[in-house]
């Protein structure tokens, strides 16, 4: 009976430590500041905007903050990716914008996801895709800003793929990412209201 009691006590102690020990792997804190949703509306109501497109520079700023644990782990590093979501649960075809409302007869096709272009940039050009507009083809497509599982590149080096601990306050040029979006619909698609969601996903490397 004593043995059983000891075992139960050991079990709870082990569980407690397992939670404490494995809440992080290598880093003490990984967060985006702020991490609230940004909503952006683009209205196309003349030929200039249809033909030339609309670009919104710095529609959002992705500010990264990654801290070491109290006992520094040299393997603390992170990745940042963006993932496209068109709400397929609503029946949206995989490669199109989600249709919220349609104007007119709808005899043409809905705009494909590829009409949305996203550009990431920061002063140190830490992302390999820095300054170049990227497009998504299908729901769930993922584009690396700082790819996962790269060797640790420490903050302050101002080179590609900086992914060591640091934050936008100490190393703004490496830990802040400006997001620009551009849409050029041209004349091929059904008029209406459409929506896409870009999810920026920050994660410490395992």
């Amino acid at each position: 009976m004593i043995l059983i009691r000891k075992s139960v006590f050991s079990l709870f102690v082990a569980l407690f430590f397992s939670i404490q020990l494995h809440a992080q792997i290598h880093c003490g804190l990984v967060e985006l500041v702020p991490n609230t949703t940004v909503n952006s509306l683009m209205t196309f109501d003349d030929f200039t905007s249809y033909n030339g497109g609309i670009i919104i520079n710095s529609v959002a700023k992705i500010r990264v903050r990654v801290q070491d644990k109290a006992i520094i782990d040299p393997l603390c590093s992170w990745s940042l990716v963006m993932i496209i979501d068109n709400n397929p649960g609503a029946g949206t075809p995989a490669n199109e914008w989600e249709e919220l409302l349609q104007y007119g007869s709808g005899a043409a096709t809905n705009p494909p996801m590829s009409t949305l272009e996203v550009r990431i940039r920061n002063a140190c050009s830490t992302s390999p895709i820095d300054g170049v507009f990227q497009t998504f083809a299908n729901n769930g497509d993922l584009i690396d800003i700082i790819a996962p599982l790269l060797p640790v590149t420490p903050a302050g080096s101002c080179v590609n793929n900086v992914n060591g601990p640091g934050d936008y306050m100490g190393n703004y040029d490496e830990f802040n990412f400006d997001v620009d979006i551009r849409v050029t619909p041209t004349f091929a698609y059904n008029p209406g209201i459409y929506q896409l969601n870009i999810r920026f996903h920050l994660e410490e490397n395992p």
Binding site: H22, I25, C27, V30, V38, M42, N51, A107, L196
Partner: protein, 258 residues
Amino acid sequence: MKKLSYLCGAFLLFGATANAQLIDEKDVTVTMDLQPVLQLDMTTPDQIEFVFDEINEYYAGITKYGATVLRVSSTVSWDLYAVGRSTGTNGPEFWDQQIEYGNNNPNAVPDLPLSLLELRQAQPNNGAAAAAGLFADYSQAFSPATVPSAGNSLYVNGGTNTPPTTNDKYIGGHAGTSGVPGDDFLPGGSYLTQTGVTSDYFYVIDYRILPGLPAIFPNAADADGATFEDIVTVNGAGAYAEPGVYTMYVQYILLEDQ
């Protein structure tokens, strides 16, 4: 005891895997409002006058070349058509007689069909492959004065602006929503971005009125061009157009493909 050890191990394993690496996320939601824009720019005189005061004008008709220029800009697939209309003084499908000249000869008919006006578009309709009528558009040359033809007579539909059917004439596009480019619509675009000497978004329109002698307007025809509706065919032999001043108007309608 052994079972308890397994349980302990399982819980430990669970504890280790349930708490993966730290993650944070942020969303940027982009909403796009594509508002439809259909724009028809028209260059034309306020009034186009046809004055028939010479015999040769009755015989050969009067043609007004390039009297109207149509420029299309559209963000959606579109159709463009012309329809003859009047205020209905003499009936919904007839010119309005403003004043009559001379006496009231019983054979002098004041009801002139709106379809006696002929149109010719310089650029053929490249969005009418599915048209089923005799004439898909107004692109054929005006016929010789001695050869009656319904190929250019203006589309009229009971004084309304109802779109033509598959048997009638469009300037651009046609009836139907097949979705097949070139069959029954012209795709969105603008004359502003076109190059070359021709464009599906740019139409020069000529007008002709051919009264003939006697003045029966031999080229007047119904909407599908299958039946003539000149003064004699409608009113009987001996009838002719009553001299006077008549007015009507042509309505150009640009609409989303339908």
